[in-house]
C-alpha cells in the first residue's frame, strides 16, 4: 500500500437490498486495494471457519458480534482505503428495512453511491427504496453493480435483463447511473481488475468507475447564507459564530438577518491564533467562522444572515418532501420540534398532501398519516415567520429535520413553490410618514347609525358560492336599511388590482390591498363583504390584523368535487387541461380556516338558507347592544311579511 500524497477524499455509500452483497463487495475492495491491516484477513478466515461458513468477506466490516452471528449489517460503518493516489471512505449501509434510519444516516454523508443488485433476484423492494432515498438526499453520482454474476453463470442475458429493469426505475426518480457493472464480489471479478469471466463486458471495473466520481462541492456560487450558531463575548467584542453554508462573506458586506429584518455591516472576520497583521477579509462556504458587526443589533442562534439584496423567503407555511423514521406515525395536527440549520421551532403538520409508495412510485393524495420508513409530501406550519430556501435553490439551507423526544424522527427537503414571500409586505417603504388621528371615532359613527361597520370575509374554493352569496347578502342587508358594499375578486382585478397576476406574491398583494380597503370601509361605517378565494391563512390573518375587532371570517364550504361540478366560470376545466397553472385546490394549496367565526355549507343547503344564515350572523354582530330588542322586532316583522 504505497501511500503517496493524495489530494481529495471521496465518500461512497454502498446501498441495496439485504443480502445482495454490499458488505462482501466492501471486503473485496479492501482486499484488492491491499488496504487490510496485518492479521485482518487471517482474523476473518478464522471467524468464518468458527461459524462453519465459507469465506465471509463481510466479517471484515460487520464488526458487531450480533451482526456476525446473524450475518446482517445493523448500523452504518465507515472504512478508509487508498487507490491510485486517492483516499476513499466507504460507508456501508444496512439493507434491512428496520435499519433504514442507519442507511439514511450513512447516505446523507456521501458524495457518490454504489447500488448493489443481485443478478439472481434482480431489483427488490429495498433496492427501490434505497434508490428513492438517494434521490431525495440529492445524490446524483450513482453507479449500479449487478452482483453475484457467478451464480448466474456470468450470463450476459441475465445481466441485460436486470440492468434494464434497474435503469428504468432509476430514470423514473431522476437518477441516471453512470455505469452498470456486472461483478462477482466473492470471486473478485470486475472489482479491481476485469478478471476473465466477464470478457463480454466492455466497460471498466468498479475501482476505475469510482475514480471518475468527484467529491461534493460546497455551494460557493449560491446566495450567501450564514446561520448563526452562537454569540460569544470576548472582552469588549461580540463575536457571531457559525458555519457559512453557501456563498462568500467579506468584511464590509451589508448583511440582512432573518427573520428579524435587522441589517448591519461586517467589520471583521475573527481569527485565532492571532495572525499578526494579515487580516482575514473573506470566508467561503464550509468555513466555521466568527464575525463582528458595526451595530449592536439583536442577533441570536437560529437567525440567518444573507446579503442584503438576496435574502431567503419569509413564510409561516411551506412544503416538505419527507421521509419518516419514527415508529409512531406522522399525523395531521401533530406538532414536532423542527431544526433548519441552527434554527429551531415547533412545527405543525397542516396536511399530508401526497403519500408515496417508494417501491412502485404509486401515490395517494390527502393521506391521513405517514408510517415508519415511508415517504410523503407534507405542508408544515409555524407560529411565526421563518427564513426559508427551496432545496432546489440551496441544498444546504433547503432541508429540515423533525425531532420526537430528542431523536431525529424524519427529515426532508423544502419546496416554496406556490408560496409568497411575506417579507416585502411588512414595512412602509418610506420612513417620512406620520399618522394623523381622526376626530370622529368608529363608535360615534356607529352610535348615530345604530350599527357599526365591519368586514365579513368570505373565503372558499372557486365555485363554492362566495360571489353569489355576497351579492344576495348585500341586497338583503340594503333592503333592511344597512349601508353595505361587496368587494369581489374578479371586479377588483378590473380596477384597483389591475396590475396584479396570479403569482404567489401577486395573490398576497391582491389580498393585502383588499384587506386595507375593506378596513377603510368598515371604519367609515359600511358593512363590507369580501368574496375572494384567499387561499392562504397568513394573508387572511394579516387582513384580520388591520381591524381585528370587526373582522369576521366566514368559511364558504363545499367539497372540491362539488365545486368542480358547478364550475360556473369553466376554470376547473381549463385547469385540468393544464391551461391554468397554480389553480387553487388542484395545483395550488387551499388552507381552510382553522377557527372561522361562521361556516356556511353550500353543498347541503340551498342559496336562500345560506343567505339567511349569513344575514342573521351579520346583523347580530353589527347592531349595537342597546338596539338588541329592535333587531328582533325588525326580524319578526320581516318574517311576518
Amino acid at each position: 500500500m504505497a501511500r503517496k500524497k493524495t489530494t481529495e477524499k471521496l465518500r461512497i455509500v454502498i446501498v441495496g437490498h439485504v443480502d445482495h452483497g454490499k458488505s462482501t463487495l466492501i471486503g473485496r475492495l479492501l482486499y484488492d486495494t491491499d488496504s487490510l491491516l496485518d492479521g485482518r484477513f487471517e482474523e476473518m478466515e478464522a471467524a468464518s471457519k468458527k461459524r462453519g461458513d465459507i469465506m465471509e468477506w463481510s466479517f471484515l466490516l460487520d464488526s458487531f458480534q450480533a451482526e456476525r452471528d446473524q450475518a446482517v449489517t445493523i448500523d452504518t460503518t465507515q472504512i478508509n482505503f487508498v487507490h491510485e493516489d486517492r483516499d476513499y471512505v466507504i460507508i456501508d449501509a444496512p439493507g434491512h428495512t428496520e435499519f433504514l434510519r442507519n442507511m439514511i444516516s450513512g447516505a446523507a454523508q456521501a458524495d457518490a453511491a454504489l447500488l448493489v443488485v443481485d443478478a439472481e433476484e434482480g431489483v427488490q423492494e429495498q433496492t427501490k427504496r434505497h434508490a428513492y432515498l438517494l434521490s431525495m438526499l440529492g445524490l446524483r453520482q450513482v453507479a449500479v453493480v449487478i452482483n453475484k454474476m457467478d451464480k448466474v453463470g456470468y450470463d450476459i442475458k441475465r445481466y441485460e435483463t436486470v440492468a434494464s429493469e434497474t435503469v428504468s426505475f432509476l430514470k423514473s426518480i431522476n437518477i441516471s447511473p453512470s455505469k452498470i457493472i456486472p461483478i462477482s464480489a466473492r470471486n473478485g471479478d470486475m472489482i479491481a481488475t476485469r478478471g476473465e469471466a466477464l470478457e463480454w463486458y466492455d466497460g471498466k471495473p468498479v475501482l476505475d468507475v469510482l475514480g471518475g466520481f468527484d467529491p461534493s462541492r460546497l455551494p460557493l456560487a449560491r446566495d450567501m447564507r450564514f446561520p448563526v450558531q452562537d454569540v460569544y463575548r470576548l472582552g469588549e467584542k461580540r463575536v457571531i459564530v457559525g458555519r457559512l453554508e453557501s456563498g462568500i462573506l467579506r468584511t464590509g458586506d451589508k448583511l440582512l438577518f432573518s427573520p428579524t429584518d435587522e441589517e448591519a455591516t461586517v467589520t471583521s472576520i475573527e481569527q485565532w491564533p492571532d495572525t499578526k497583521g494579515t487580516k482575514k477579509i473573506e470566508a467561503k462556504a464550509g468555513e466555521s467562522i466568527g464575525i463582528t458587526l458595526d451595530k449592536p443589533i439583536f442577533v441570536e442562534r437560529g437567525h440567518s444572515a444573507s446579503a442584503y439584496t438576496t435574502p431567503p423567503m419569509l413564510s409561516k407555511v411551506f412544503r416538505v418532501h419527507l421521509f419518516w423514521l419514527s415508529k409512531n406515525p406522522l399525523k395531521v395536527g401533530n406538532i414536532y420540534k423542527m431544526r433548519l440549520n441552527t434554527f429551531e421551532c415547533p412545527v405543525t403538520i397542516q396536511s399530508i398532501d401526497r403519500h408515496i409508495n417508494t417501491s412502485d412510485l404509486s401515490f395517494q393524495d390527502k393521506a391521513g398519516q405517514v408510517g415508519r420508513n415511508e415517504v410523503a409530501e407534507v405542508t408544515l406550519r409555524t407560529a411565526d415567520l421563518i427564513a426559508l430556501d427551496s432545496y432546489q435553490d440551496n441544498y444546504r439551507t433547503g432541508r429540515v429535520v423533525l425531532y420526537e423526544e430528542g431523536d431525529v424522527c424524519g427529515g426532508g427537503t423544502i419546496s416554496m413553490k406556490g408560496y409568497a414571500d411575506q417579507r416585502r409586505l411588512r414595512k412602509p417603504k418610506s420612513e417620512n410618514i406620520t399618522k394623523v388621528d381622526h376626530l370622529l371615532s368608529y363608535e360615534r359613527r356607529a352610535t348615530r347609525e345604530g350599527y357599526g361597520g365591519g368586514i365579513f370575509w368570505l373565503t372558499g374554493l372557486s365555485g363554492s358560492g362566495k360571489s353569489t352569496l355576497a351579492m344576495k347578502v348585500e341586497q338583503a342587508l340594503f333592503e333592511k336599511g344597512y349601508q353595505t358594499y361587496v368587494l369581489d375578486g374578479d371586479n377588483v382585478r378590473h380596477g384597483l388590482n389591475v396590475d396584479l397576476g396570479f403569482s404567489p406574491e401577486d395573490r398576497a398583494e391582491n389580498i393585502r390591498r383588499v384587506g386595507e380597503v375593506s378596513s377603510l370601509m368598515a371604519h367609515a361605517g359600511l358593512i363590507c363583504i369580501t368574496a375572494f378565494i384567499s387561499p392562504y391563512r397568513s394573508d387572511r390573518n394579516r387582513a384580520r390584523e388591520i381591524f381585528p375587532d370587526h373582522f369576521h371570517e366566514i368559511s364558504i364550504n363545499a367539497s372540491l368535487s362539488a365545486c368542480e361540478k358547478r364550475d360556473p366560470k369553466g376554470l376547473y376545466k381549463k385547469a385540468r387541461k393544464g391551461e391554468i397553472s397554480d389553480f387553487t385546490g388542484l395545483s395550488s394549496p387551499y388552507e381552510a380556516p382553522e377557527n372561522p367565526e361562521l361556516t356556511i355549507n353550500t353543498e347541503d343547503n340551498d342559496i336562500e338558507t345560506c343567505v339567511t344564515q349569513i344575514v342573521k350572523y351579520i346583523e347580530s354582530n353589527v347592531k349595537l347592544a342597546t338596539q338588541e330588542s329592535n333587531i328582533e322586532n325588525f326580524e319578526e316583522k320581516a318574517l311576518a311579511n
Binding site: 501511500r3 489530494t7 452562537d230 485565532w272 466555521s288 431544526r339 431525529v408
Partner: protein, 266 residues
C-alpha cells in the same frame, strides 16, 4: 493530503464543538493526554478563540508513564486549562472474571462512571476516531449513553445533515466525537501543520516508540526509527499494522473491545 482537506476536517470539528457547547450543559472533555485529545484541545481553542470554556477531565489510573504527567502539568499551565483529575478505582475492585488487560481498562470505565455521578455532565467530548477500531467506526458524532454509561449500539438515533441528538433524559449523557472522521495520519499531519505539542514518547528512542499511549502495564512500544513528526507520517504512509496493536486489551478475545465499549468504555 493537501491543506485544503485538513481545513475541511478542522472546520467540521469546530462546528461540532460549538454545537456541543451551545446545546449541552454541563459539558466536559476527556483528556487522555495523547495526540488525539491534544488535537481536540487545540481545536477547542480555535473554536472558542483561545480559551477552552469547559473543564478538561483526566481519568487517572496513576499508571501513565512519567513523561505523560510532566507533559500534562506543562500544558495545563501554558493553555490555562481547567483540569479535573478523577482517580480511578483500584484493579482489585474490578470484575475478576475479565481477562487481565480488559480488567485494567475497566478501571477507566469505572472512573468515568464516578465522575458522571459526581458532576452530572450531560455532555462529554472525546477524541475517538472511526479508523481506530471497527466498533468505533459505527459511532455517531453525538452518541447517547444510558444511565449506567452503556452504549446501545443496536439502536442508535438517526444523524443527518449535521443535525444531532443533543437532549438526554436525567442521569444519561451524550458523548460528542469531533474527531470521528479523522484518521491517524490526519491527526499527525494536522499536529505538524499547527505545531501542536505532543508527549515525546511518540518519538523513537533506541529503535522504539509509542504509537498509541496507554497505561504502562498494558501498552507497549513498537519497533520504529521515526524520531520526528515527518518521519512518523512517512512511516504511517506504508504501515500495515493496526494503531492499537500495542494495546493488549483490544486483542484478548474476538469481541473484547465490543464488550468494553458496550459497558461505557471510551
Amino acid at each position: 493530503m493537501t491543506d485544503r482537506y485538513l481545513d475541511e476536517l478542522e472546520e467540521r470539528s469546530i462546528y461540532i464543538l460549538r454545537e456541543a457547547y451551545s446545546q449541552i450543559k454541563p459539558l466536559g472533555m476527556l483528556w487522555s493526554i495523547g495526540k488525539d485529545s491534544n488535537t481536540l484541545l487545540w481545536l477547542a481553542r480555535k473554536a472558542f478563540y483561545g480559551k477552552v470554556p469547559f473543564p478538561v477531565i483526566q481519568l487517572d489510573t496513576q499508571m501513565e508513564l512519567p513523561e505523560v504527567y510532566t507533559f500534562r502539568d506543562q500544558l495545563v499551565k501554558d493553555w490555562e486549562l481547567d483540569l479535573k483529575i478523577e482517580l480511578c478505582p483500584p484493579e482489585e475492585e474490578m470484575d475478576k472474571t475479565l481477562p487481565p488487560a480488559t480488567r485494567a481498562a475497566t478501571r477507566k470505565t469505572e472512573g468515568l462512571k464516578n465522575i458522571l455521578l459526581k458532576d452530572a455532565y450531560k455532555g462529554l467530548i472525546l477524541g475517538i476516531r472511526r479508523d481506530e477500531q471497527s466498533m468505533r467506526a459505527k459511532e455517531r458524532v453525538f452518541s447517547p449513553r444510558s444511565l449506567d454509561g452503556g452504549w446501545d449500539f443496536k439502536n442508535q438515533p438517526a444523524e443527518i445533515w449535521d443535525q444531532y441528538k443533543t437532549q438526554s433524559p436525567d442521569g444519561c449523557h451524550i458523548r460528542i466525537h469531533p474527531l470521528l472522521a479523522w484518521t491517524e495520519i490526519d491527526v499527525w499531519r494536522y499536529t505538524h501543520r499547527e505545531k501542536i505539542p505532543v508527549v515525546p514518547l511518540y518519538f523513537s528512542r533506541d529503535g522504539q516508540r509509542y504509537r498509541s499511549l496507554g497505561e504502562k502495564n498494558i501498552t507497549f512500544p513498537i519497533e520504529s526509527n521515526a524520531s520526528t513528526i515527518e518521519e512518523i507520517i512517512k512511516e504511517l504512509e506504508t504501515t500495515k499494522t493496526s494503531e492499537r496493536s500495542g494495546r493488549t486489551m483490544d486483542c484478548e478475545s474476538e469481541d473484547s473491545f465490543e464488550k468494553l465499549r458496550s459497558g461505557g468504555y471510551m
